[in-house]
Amino acid sequence: METMGIQALTSPVILFFVLGLLAAFARSDLAIPEAIAKGMSLYLMAAIGLKGGIEVAESGLDGTVLAALAAGIGAGFVMPIYAYWVLKGFGRLSRINAGAVAAHYGSISVVTFVTAVEIYTIQGNPPQGYMVAVMASMESPAILAGLLLARGLGSEEGQSRKELAHEVLLNPSVVLLLGAFIIGMIAGPEGFADVKPFFDGLFKGILCLFLLDMGLIAARRILDARSLTWRLVAIAIVLPLVNGAIGTVLGVSIGLDTGSAAALGVLCASASYIAVPAAMRLALPEADPGIYLTMSLSITFPFNVLLNIGLIGALAATLTGAGAVTP
């Protein structure tokens, strides 16, 4: 297991992330233009969606898909609940802030998932293509759960409720991920051939630059953070550990293969930093992004990328008895 962890840490993808962290901690002014970063983020979602859809077009769907979807959506509703109580109790957050943070941890991070897929594929346990659909379906439930926790039932006026439903169902990330997934299913491997150099060939390289930027942004947020306490830092590390383990066990128990079970674990462990912050800005503007973004982006994200993905992969391998293949 050790060797695998170390292997992953010498992959350019991870090394660029570390470079970003170090550069920002050293207060270098290195920065990637926001339009480029946003473009790379859209590219990664379109590409992962397409690839998932094409794999499903090739392999077809079996019963485990439905189980995986149900498990993911269920986890998206349940995880925020206990997260909320921990955040309010141990974390000493207000109701509003606890609900907002809980929503982030119930939802998912596309780039954490993508990084995990790369690592598990290197290790010989590639997750199934349908896990992309599971990911897309896990983006929004936690937003609902978090808002209910923060505001209570029936507190929203009609206008806000409409906005909210819109945000949850037509969130840009969900639309692009699911849209590209369906395009992949329709186009299939032959349709994909022509666009493969772009959506497949460039994938890892663009992931490198995107993670460079994530490292820069994550480290700078910590340096600028005012509202972070040691209690919140602890939660931002323990929650992904617990959620990751629960997700992996859930995945194995519904019969997913090693890679897919680990991927479900990673989805549970990851915290959103694109879809949910935007939704919270809209629906819970009183919540403090200095808390929720710093926890999800600056602590949980690096923890997952550098350590937790490896741990979850090891757990899944142990539970399924699958030895990881050293490439």
Partner: protein, 102 residues
């Protein structure tokens, strides 16, 4: 000399996610138009922010020119949500040509 009339210029700094809400209120109040300018970073009581366009937690500046009555109505409509929605509103008198447009 060109004849100018006095109108109010109102500028509202708002989260990207709140821009639609702000501009709808401008429309409802009956003001004829507005313009949105990008904002790249800032610092307030909640600390410093930058490079947040990717996360959709960046801000924009909504600028609108209005008559005195309309500007009063807009300030009144926005006042209750200024604090909860983190809006920053400033307004001042400006001279415009073709005052009938505003």
């Amino acid at each position: 000399m060109i004849e100018t009339v006095i109108r109010k210029r109102i500028e509202i700094l708002a989260d990207q996610a709140q821009v639609k809400r702000v501009t709808s209120i401008i429309d409802e109040v009956g003001i004829t138009g507005w313009t949105v300018l990008p904002v790249s970073s800032g610092r307030g009581r909640e600390g410093r922010w930058r490079e947040e366009r990717v996360m959709g937690t960046d801000k924009n500046l909504v600028v609108t020119i209005a008559s005195q009555e309309n500007s009063q109505a807009l300030a009144q409509a926005l006042a209750p949500i200024l604090t909860s929605h983190g809006l920053l509103l400033t307004m001042w008198d400006v001279e415009v040509i073709r005052g009938e447009r505003f």
